[in-house]
Every structure is written in structure tokens, then in C-alpha cells.
């Protein structure tokens, strides 16, 4: 049987950087003068990307990909042709399983009907649409390039084009957001009946315009307080549950059978290969990370030297297996832990587990998982599962 892996492909371009975004992405329009042709930059990148995929052929020769995720940035800035070429390259490097989940992210401001058909042809069968809010004022504040109406058009277009597995990203805890505006976003999104909803609570990250504006001092007051934030979170779970969505990860909700298989690989510590600028891989017990420097990435042309490689020690693998698995609502199956490490979970983590079971943050049966109270403070709990840091 072939080794099943997930594939992640990073497209670092967007039309305009959002105010809260600290992902590895940059606007195509703002390239240097001598590179005004954004096409040039994009095609140079795609060339290097395809080269990287090609060179991993031997490494992946016994593998089959059962998930592919094209993320960004804004992958929907790629033309239908470009996506098709990318998939051709991928398929010639690694077979895709028949039932593979092939996802891509899409910004509502960039969707075009002609492209959608091409994406379908390339094999894309799941689209994740970054909406964030149904309130135009909030969209503007976030620095999004679209309105809610544009999102609705995109959504309709996707359905018309035959996409039957759609995700919508929304955000809570936005500056100036109230429980009412958030509830409205949730309501309007649920009314469209996407198969999957990702609902993130905003984290104001350093190095973003939001950080300068809202991280400290007066600006902080614009953010909903923690109580409101947690109420939004609890409301999300409850509201979506009534409408047939179950929470399967801290921030992810799906109708039956539509959990994102690709993301589950991260949380269950299965193998995946990342291609593209700054992308990460977990393969053969090692983590890899590509360079985040655009120029370096282009000049490396897919060669290995641009990649950081870290072999995980057994302890590191254990702690990652725990804190990643705890993100899922199923939790970490004790049997899976034993099968993987040959030791009982309680032998390694007995005291931590007892401590948090007692304080009501964890539940321990055949699996170990966070309670609702535990989810709210999951960092605190997860940090205690790190073995490399002794206190």
C-alpha cells in the first residue's frame, strides 16, 4: 500500500495585504518598479514552484496524495491555466488518490466565472472562501477588498459552477464588533448552508497595522473584552450546532462528512509535504521549512539547500502529538498514542492529565480532550504538555 500524504502549496500573493494579516504574503501590485509586470513575478514564482515539485519526485515515489490544499495569500489570483499547469505538474510527480480532497482558498474580490470552470477542470473540489464578516464596515476596517454583496455573488457563482464542498471563513473579536454584528455574520453565513465554517477569534499579531492600532493603550478598548469574546465563541458553537454543524476542532465546524481532511492531517500528525515559499512539511519523522525570502526561493529553483530540516526527537513528537491532537474535539486517542510511541499516555503525562481533569479543563476516557472551559484557555493547558521545557 502506498504511503498517503497531504500536499500544501503556498501562493504568497494577494491583491492587498489585510490589516490583521501576518501570514507570509505580499501584494502583487506593490512590486518594485522594474518588475511592474506582476505577471513576471508571478510566473517566475510558479516556475520555481513547479521546479520544486518536480525535484521532489524521487522523494515521493512511493506516496499517494489524498489531500491537496492551495493556500495563501490569495491563490484565486492564479488564472485557470496556471492552476491547471500546477496540477499537471503535481500529478506527474505524485499520484492523487481517486477520492482526494483538493482544496483552494479564494478571496471573494478576485473570483471570475471563467476561472472557476478551469479550477474545476484542474480537479479542485473544495473551495474555502475568506469572508471574515457580513458587515461591510467591519470588512473595510479589516482591509478586505470586497463587500458582503460581492461575497454573495462569488458564493452563488461557486455553487453554479458545481462546487459542492464550500468553506466560509469568519472572524469574531474584531475591533468595534458587537455581539449583534457578529451574530448577524453568523446568521447570514449559516443561511447560505456552506458545508464547512471556520470561525476564528481574532488575534492581534505583532507587525500588522492592527497591532499598531489596537494592541496597546487606548486602541485596546476597541476590542471586545474577553467575556464578550468568549460569549461569541460559545454562541458560535451553539448556533451552528442547531443548524447541523458540529465543532470538530477549536475553530472549525462542519456538516457530517465535511470536516477538512487536509487540516486534520496537521492535527493528527500525519504526513504532509509543503511546496512554495515558507511552506512547512512533516515527513519521515522530520519537519521541514522552506525559506521565507522570496529572492532566495526563486534562485534556489527547488533545490534542497533552502530548506530547514529538523528531526523530531521522540519527546518532541510526543508533545506535538498531544498539543495538536488536543485541538480536535475528538481529542487524542490513547490507543493511537500507545501505537505510535509504545508507551501509555498516562505514564508520560499522568500528573498533567490529573491536574487538568481535576480542574475541569480536560476529560479523559478512551481519548484525552479539552472541555469547553479547557478550550478557552487551551494554550495554558497545551503548554504543560511540552516535555522539553521543565519547570
Amino acid at each position: 500500500m502506498k504511503r498517503r500524504v497531504g500536499i500544501y502549496i503556498h501562493i504568497p500573493f494577494c491583491r492587498k495585504k489585510c490589516n490583521y494579516c501576518d501570514f507570509l504574503s505580499f501584494p502583487l501590485e506593490e512590486t518594485k518598479p522594474e518588475e511592474t509586470q506582476s505577471k513576471t513575478k508571478k510566473s517566475a514564482y510558479l516556475k520555481a514552484l513547479c521546479e520544486e515539485i518536480r525535484q521532489s519526485h524521487s522523494r515521493l515515489k512511493d506516496c499517494v496524495a489524498d489531500t491537496v490544499f492551495i493556500g495563501g495569500g490569495t491563490p484565486s489570483l492564479l488564472s485557470g491555466e496556471e492552476i491547471e499547469e500546477l496540477f499537471d505538474e503535481l500529478r506527474s510527480c505524485i499520484p492523487l488518490s481517486e477520492d482526494a480532497e483538493l482544496s483552494m482558498e479564494m478571496n471573494p474580490g478576485t473570483a471570475r466565472p471563467d476561472r472557476l470552470a478551469a479550477y474545476r477542470r484542474a480537479g479542485i473540489n473544495r473551495v474555502s472562501v475568506g469572508l471574515q464578516s457580513a458587515c461591510d464596515k467591519e470588512l473595510e476596517l479589516l482591509g478586505r477588498i470586497h463587500t458582503f454583496a460581492q461575497f454573495e455573488q462569488t458564493y452563488a457563482m461557486l455553487r453554479e459552477s458545481g462546487f459542492s464542498n464550500l468553506n466560509v471563513d469568519i472572524m469574531s473579536a474584531l475591533p468595534f464588533q458587537s455581539m449583534e454584528t457578529y451574530a448577524e455574520t453568523l446568521e447570514r453565513v449559516a443561511a447560505l448552508k456552506p458545508e464547512h465554517i471556520s470561525a476564528y477569534s481574532l488575534i492581534v499579531e505583532p507587525g500588522t497595522p492592527f497591532y499598531d492600532r489596537f494592541a496597546e493603550g487606548e486602541g485596546q478598548n476597541a476590542l471586545p473584552d474577553e467575556e464578550t469574546d468568549r460569549r461569541m465563541y460559545a454562541y458560535t458553537t451553539e448556533y451552528l450546532k442547531e443548524r447541523g454543524y458540529h465543532r470538530y476542532e477549536i475553530s472549525n465546524y462542519a456538516r457530517d462528512g465535511f470536516a477538512c481532511r487536509h487540516n486534520l492531517k496537521y492535527w493528527q500528525m500525519e504526513e504532509y509535504i509543503g511546496f512554495g515559499l515558507g511552506s512547512a512539511s512533516y515527513f519521515g519523522g522530520k519537519r521541514y521549512k522552506n525559506t521565507e525570502d522570496f529572492g532566495t526561493y526563486l534562485s534556489a529553483q527547488g533545490r534542497d539547500e533552502k530548506r530547514e530540516e529538523t528531526a523530531l526527537a521522540r519527546e518532541e513528537e510526543m508533545e506535538e502529538f498531544m498539543f495538536l491532537g488536543l485541538r480536535t474535539m475528538r481529542g487524542v486517542p490513547k490507543k493511537a498514542f500507545y501505537d505510535r510511541f509504545g508507551v501509555q499516555m498516562c505514564e508520560v503525562y499522568g500528573s498533567v492529565i490529573d491536574k487538568y481533569v481535576q480542574s475541569g479543563l480536560l476529560v479523559s476516557d478512551s481519548c484525552l480532550r479539552l472541555t469547553d472551559a479547557g478550550i478557552d484557555v487551551s494554550n495554558t493547558v497545551m503548554a504543560d504538555f511540552l516535555l522539553s521545557v521543565s519547570v
Binding site: S251, S279, K289, S359, V377, S378, N379, V389
Partner: protein, 604 residues
């Protein structure tokens, strides 16, 4: 080296207010007398501890012998005894002065006389030293040498019109100073054939030689083989080596005789045996009575020192042992705190001394320390007639057993320009000061005299004084004695558990204010937990102030984007690392710096 003509010896020191240029002048004297060439001179040869150089102050008295060929063609031996400048080391200053026959008074040409100038010059005059002034920093644009000369004559009452005008920094007028030393400082007297009588003015511990005694011979002689007796401590030993002080080195010689300044080694293992101020005599042929002025030095300020890492306790003990070898004024004994584990209650001369020891432990011994709030020594009179000297607030007896308590009081002199008299008086009132009097030094400056409780000045009085006078006030004090006081123990409860390391003794009228500020400060320092944490201040079980650290409601990781686990893991690692610097009190983690934050209640 016997047979040195006493009339060619000059034993002197330099007294000055801090920053008026004492150490710089000392450097110039050493340089000009040719013992070292300019190239060999490091800045401030005398301050040879790294810490001293960094802080620009002299901690331990140091001494150096140089040879000067005067204009009269004769060679003179200068023994320059450097004195510590800080009030904490007042006793050391007084013993160093006792070893001298005269003193140079350095006064800043711009700033004129300051509180320490007065304190030190009076101390010198008390020891019957002949004092002559020099006016330093005359090259400053703001220099007013004539005004300063007049001020010296008016205020101190010593002749100043012929005072050398110098710039020690730029080497101006140093020759004049050297000639004045020959002319104004009296040569020592004393009978070399009398029984040995030598004053210990300092001592250091050397790993090879044992204790090195710094002394001034008043009478008699001492050489290798002389059996010696320390008259106050009763310690005896046989002299192994005598010698004098080169710049930064010890130069052995045959014999020291009356009038000379030098050192003695005798394989003595403990600095305690060679107390500063004690008299060394010949054990076989002792002098009839010791030199006057010996005092046992008592620690005035106490605090707890704990290693951040409990496992470093033995290292801290070894380090304190080593420091103690060179510092008889440092006291320590083991203590245990529920909050901080094993550590030491340490006694110091004052807050500066405390800070210096703490810094040396951290730098030279690479220890990470937690310091508890410093306190003074209180006298607790119990109803059963017993009196205990309280150095650790946790040891305060049950209030029912206490009859009354006393606290140490200092006599303080504050020199301040006219504009700030009001605000300084206000500060002294706030610190429970009792106004004693005020004298105008000249039209624009006054000397304020107050009696203040020592516990009100050990934290931050000096800083407050500086900030409220825009740096123009100077301050000096000496211990006056103990007085009756209404004192209470302020306890801090974190999540309803008393934290012993945060308790302190305070006057009952200040308890509420201090308690409130403690709670506020701790609220900032203690991170949020999964539960709400009340922080309370209590006196005798009664809560007088409260703050609350709200429970943490949200601590969620953003999504692990594109499978990049490492970055998120680093966040978790950082979070867990943070706990290393925490102390567990019950189920609350308190950052170590919270214990120190109580020292800085006045900072905003």
C-alpha cells in the same frame, strides 16, 4: 626601611562631597609623584574594584604610598589614605581619618559646600586633623572660586584664601597641592621605641596570605616574627610580612615604625579577628591601653537574599562566606521562607552596602537572586520583660506578647537651595521627620536638620530628595538611637494565603497607604491565572486594602496555518518557560520580580 625620618612622612586623606573630584585628585597626585607614568595610569587607580569604577564611588578605603621630591629638594613619603564617600561607611571613614595627620578638603568650584562636605570635614576636625582646602573644577564655566573660598571660611571657619585652584581632571594646579601637602600636613610624631601601638583602618582577605591588615603605626615598630595581639578581639598571631602600599600592589619591607602607614600579614584566617578600629600591639610587650574610638560595627539594614534557583543555595552560601572574608560589616544567617525556600537573612551597613553586595553576588558569583524588602533592626519589648532585636518581620511575636516597640532614628542634615526648602520639608514630614532646626549657609542655601526614622529613608529617600530638589539637595545622616514607635506588621495575602516574604514592619499611620500601593503593584506583577486572585493587605488579621487579578478567560492559539507547527510551538514553549521564573504560593505563580517590586513603590 627603618631609619626613615618621621619629618619626611605625610599621612593624609582627601575629603569631599561625592562627585567633587576626590578620586580624580588622588589619581593626579599618584601620577605627579612619578610612581607611575601617565601611560601606566588607568583611570582612578585607587578604585580597583570593577563595581567601584562603574559607580564612580569608593567602597573600601584604599591606600597608596608615593615619593615626592619637593621644591626644597627633599624627598617626602606621602601615604594617601583614600576614604569611602558614602554615609553607609561612616565608621570606616572615621577610622581612616584616625590614621591620618591631615586632610585635603576638595570643594567643587561651582557647587560649593554640600552636606557631605560638612559632615566629612567636621569628622576630620573631630580627629584633630589639619585640613587645607583646594578648589576643584575651576575650569568649569560656572566656577566661582572666590565665592567658594568665602563660603569655606564662613561656614567651616578654616583659612581658604590661599587654597590651590585646580582642575584635577585636566591636571591644573596639582604641583601647588603637592607643595601644600608638604607645608600644611604635619609630620607624624610618636615614639618608635615605645611598645607597638597600631591602628587597623582596613583589612582585606587574600587567598594566599590570609588577612592583610592595613594599619597606621602610632608608636613602636613591627617586623617579621613580631607576636601581635589585636586588643579588642583578643586574636593573636605572628607576623609573616610587613610592607607598604604601591599603586595596586603590596611591597614588602623590613620593618614598619611609628608614623608609618603599611600592612601586616600574619596568616590570619578571618577578617573578623582584625576589626577596623582595633589596636595591634606586641603580644609580649603590649602597650598600656588601646587607641580610642573602636566600635563594633552593627548591621543597620536587613533583608532576605534567596537564590532564584533553589538548587543554587549552596553556591549562595559559599559566595557569602567569601564576601564576608573581606567585609566584616556583612552579616548573614540562614533562614527559610515559605514563599522563597532556603536563603539568608543578611545584615548591611545601609542600602548602598546592600546593593553592592547584591550586585557582587550577581556579577562575580553569577547568582540570580530574589531580594525581600529591606528593613531595619527593631527592638521589640515583650510583656515578659524580654527584648528581642527583630531583623525579619516574620519573627514578630504575637501582638498580645508585645509591650511596645522601638525603631532606630537618625539625625539627618540636608543642604538645599532656598527654592526647595518647602518641598524638602514636606518630604521630611511625610517620612515622619521631626524638625530640629535650620541654618542659612549663605543667602541662597540652608542646612536643614531633621530626625528621621531609619526605616523611612532606607528605600528611596535619597531618590525622592533628588527629584524634589531637581538634584540640588544633598544629604547626610548618622544614627542617633532608638525611640518608641507605633509599629505594625503589614501582611500581604495572595489568594488568601499569607506570603511571608512580602511582610514588612511599618508605622501604623503609613500602613494603609503602603498596603494599598503594595496591592496595586502586585496586581500589575502577578499574571492572570485560570482563576481570580484576590491580593490583600492586612494588619493584625484585618484587611486594609484589596485588589483583584481577574481570571484569564481567553488563551487560545490562532490557527496553525499551512501546517507550520514550529512557530506555534515556540509560543507555547515561551509560555511554559515563563513559569520557570515563578514562585508557587499555594496554587498561585508569583514572578520573582514581584518580590523586588515592593522596593520601588514610589516609582511611577
Amino acid at each position: 626601611m627603618s631609619g626613615i625620618d618621621q619629618s619626611k612622612i605625610r599621612n593624609f586623606c582627601i575629603v569631599a562631597h561625592i562627585d567633587h573630584g576626590k578620586s580624580t585628585l588622588a589619581d593626579r597626585i599618584i601620577e605627579k609623584t612619578g610612581l607611575l607614568t601617565s601611560r601606566e595610569m588607568q583611570d582612578q587607580v585607587l578604585d580597583n574594584m570593577e563595581l567601584e569604577r562603574e559607580r564612580g564611588i569608593t567602597i573600601k578605603a584604599q591606600t597608596v604610598r608615593t615619593v615626592y621630591t619637593a621644591r626644597d629638594g627633599q624627598e617626602y613619603i606621602f601615604n594617601l589614605i583614600d576614604t569611602p564617600g558614602h554615609v553607609d561607611f561612616n565608621y570606616e571613614v572615621s577610622r581612616a581619618l584616625a590614621a591620618c595627620d591631615g586632610a585635603i578638603l576638595v570643594v567643587d568650584a561651582a557647587q560649593g559646600i554640600e552636606a557631605q562636605t560638612l559632615a566629612n570635614v567636621y569628622l576630620a576636625l573631630d580627629h584633630d586633623l589639619d585640613v587645607f582646602p583646594v578648589i576643584n573644577k575651576i575650569d568649569l564655566p560656572s566656577a566661582e572660586p572666590q565665592r567658594v573660598k568665602d563660603e569655606i571660611e564662613d561656614v567651616i571657619g578654616i583659612e581658604a584664601q590661599d587654597a590651590p585652584l585646580i582642575s584635577a581632571k585636566n591636571g591644573i594646579g596639582i604641583e601647588d597641592v603637592l607643595e601644600k601637602i608638604v607645608e600644611k600636613i604635619p609630620a607624624p610624631t610618636g615614639d618608635a621605641s615605645a611598645p607597638l601601638k597600631a591602628l587597623i583602618f582596613d583589612s582585606v582577605y587574600d587567598a594566599y596570605k590570609g588577612v592583610i591588615i592595613f594599619c597606621r603605626l602610632m608608636e613602636g615598630t613591627v617586623q617579621k616574627g613580631t607576636p601581635i595581639l589585636m586588643m579588642a578581639t583578643g586574636a593573636t598571631a605572628e607576623v609573616v610580612e610587613v610592607g607598604y602600599f604601591g599603586a595596586g600592589q603590596f611591597i614588602p619591607c623590613e620593618e614598619l615604625s611609628a608614623g608609618m602607614v603599611g600592612y601586616i600579614t600574619a596568616s590570619i584566617k578571618n577578617v573578623k579577628d582584625t576589626a577596623v578600629g582595633d589596636t595591634v600591639t606586641n603580644a609580649k610587650n603590649p602597650c598600656s591601653e588601646p587607641l580610642p574610638g573602636y566600635k563594633k560595627v552593627n548591621s543597620m539594614v536587613y533583608c532576605g537574599l534567596y537564590p532564584s534557583d533553589g538548587a543554587k543555595y549552596p553556591d549562595l552560601r559559599d559566595a557569602l562566606e567569601k564576601l564576608k572574608l573581606n567585609d566584616a560589616a556583612l552579616n548573614y544567617e540562614p533562614e527559610t521562607s515559605i514563599a522563597l525556600g532556603f536563603g539568608f537573612r543578611c545584615g548591611f551597613l545601609g542600602l548602598l552596602h546592600l546593593e553592592i553586595i547584591q550586585e557582587r553576588l550577581e556579577r562575580e558569583y553569577n547568582l540570580d537572586l530574589v531580594t525581600t524588602a529591606p528593613g531595619v533592626v527593631y527592638r521589640v519589648y515583650k510583656t515578659n520583660g524580654e527584648m528581642i532585636e527583630l531583623t525579619n518581620p516574620s519573627n514578630l511575636p504575637d501582638p498580645a506578647e508585645i509591650d511596645y516597640m522601638e525603631e532606630p532614628i537618625v539625625s539627618a542634615e540636608i543642604m538645599v537651595t532656598k527654592d526647595y526648602i518647602g518641598s524638602i520639608m514636606e518630604l521630611c514630614q511625610e517620612r515622619r521627620g521631626v524638625y530640629i532646626g535650620m541654618d542659612y549657609m549663605e543667602e541662597t542655601r540652608a542646612l536643614l536638620r531633621y530626625e528621621l526614622p531609619l526605616n523611612e529613608i532606607i528605600y528611596d529617600f535619597f531618590d525622592a530628595l533628588k527629584s524634589r530638589s531637581k538634584g540640588y539637595a544633598s544629604f547626610d545622616y548618622e544614627i542617633k538611637g532608638y525611640e518608641h514607635s507605633e509599629l505594625v506588621k503589614l501582611d500581604i495575602l495572595v489568594n488568601r494565603e499569607e506570603v511571608d516574604a512580602l511582610s514588612f514592619i511599618v508605622h501604623k499611620d503609613s500602613a494603609y497607604e503602603r498596603g494599598r500601593r503594595m496591592c496595586e503593584r502586585l496586581k500589575e506583577e502577578i499574571p492572570r491565572h485560570l482563576f481570580e486572585i484576590p491580593i490583600q493587605a492586612a494588619v493584625g488579621g484585618k484587611i486594609i486594602a484589596r485588589e483583584t487579578v481577574k481570571a484569564m478567560r481567553k488563551d487560545v492559539l490562532a490557527k496553525c496555518y499551512g501546517g507550520d507547527i514550529t512557530r506555534k510551538k515556540k509560543l507555547l514553549e515561551k509560555q511554559k518557560e515563563g513559569k520557570k521564573r515563578m514562585r508557587m504560593i499555594g496554587n498561585v505563580e508569583i514572578p520573582q520580580k514581584a518580590f523586588m517590586s515592593v522596593l520601588k513603590l514610589d516609582e511611577k
